[in-house]
């Protein structure tokens, strides 16, 4: 297994902190701690929803020079993630992808792929195979 910080990072963004944490727990149990992993859920007031600032922090926490794959649930999680990618700056934005994949299965399979040192493109492609195009 390659060094953790060299592997693609995984970020999980749900409207619910419980869903996000649960998905992250599954990644840790099934894949281990060989990939940088962060999650966030809930709106700025603590209710269900998404929070761009929290997404930015999660990307920072899971940052890897190999890039970061983000997994989202519903619409606002996706648009807020895209907004966060824009805010983080051009240098790193090109190495962050919001995946079109189911949040739990996508995060687990992407983390499994990333733990073997796969590239961001490969990690994203593997996760996106789960979604009918």
């Amino acid at each position: 297994m390659s060094d953790r910080r060299e592997n693609v990072g995984i970020v999980i963004v749900s409207h619910s902190p419980l869903v996000a944490k649960g998905a992250a727990d599954m990644v840790r149990q099934m894949v281990g701690d060989s990939v940088p992993l962060a999650w966030c859920g809930g709106n700025p007031a603590g209710g269900l929803g998404t929070d761009m600032e929290a997404i930015l922090r999660a990307i920072e926490d899971a940052w890897s020079e190999a890039g970061v794959a983000i997994f989202v649930d519903l619409g606002g999680a996706e648009t807020n993630s895209e907004m966060a990618i824009e805010m983080i700056g051009k240098g790193r934005a090109a190495r962050i992808v919001v995946c079109n994949a189911p949040i739990v299965e996508g995060a687990v399979i992407a983390a499994a792929e990333a733990s073997g040192g796969a590239s961001l493109a490969k990690v994203v492609a593997t996760a996106q195979e789960l979604s009918p195009s």
Binding site: N43, G47, G49, T50, T79, N80, E82
Partner: protein, 211 residues
Amino acid sequence: MNLVHEPGLSFDTVALVCRVIEACRDAAVSQEAYLCDLDRAIGDGDHGTNMRRGLEALAAERQLLSAMPLSDAMIAAGTILVMNIGGAAGPLYGTLLLETGKGLSAGQIPFPQAFLQAVGAVAQRGRSSPGDKTLLDVLVPLSEALVKQTDMRCLAEEIQGFADMTIDMKAVRGRASFLGERSIGHMDPGAASCALFATTVCHELMETARS
């Protein structure tokens, strides 16, 4: 009236920006329940609360914002909205203000053109078009009216009509799209809040022109 796009605003404009922000905050507070009701019908019922939270955060910074050049103020206001609205509306309203501010600062283009470009950016962010039952159904005709320099009084009276048009539309984006045909018959909450704020801004501008 002509919206200022020069750095270094006059004292009157500082007061105007403050009043516009306060009026929008007041509108968000008084219409919170109404917007939540609209959202409960076809979404998750939090649009009014999210907008109120965003506008209160904006109002808390109104002194700072009103002292900035309009372009910088729009960029700062957009950032505040993204950070505080949350939900799907945050990035959309945030993009609208951020991109308007960027247009004003980068291209020295007049406000209506900068706003028109920003509406295009909102469409891209939400991957929607007019007719999809979203806030674009208000923003697109509004931006076109601004470019045509439609009389402010006529415009203020027309805006709610743009939102009313969404009642008969079928949602194809956002949470409401899960309902498909059942989304027909309800006004889109995003279009409703957009009409509310646009009408409020128009009234404040007319009030200032009168005084």
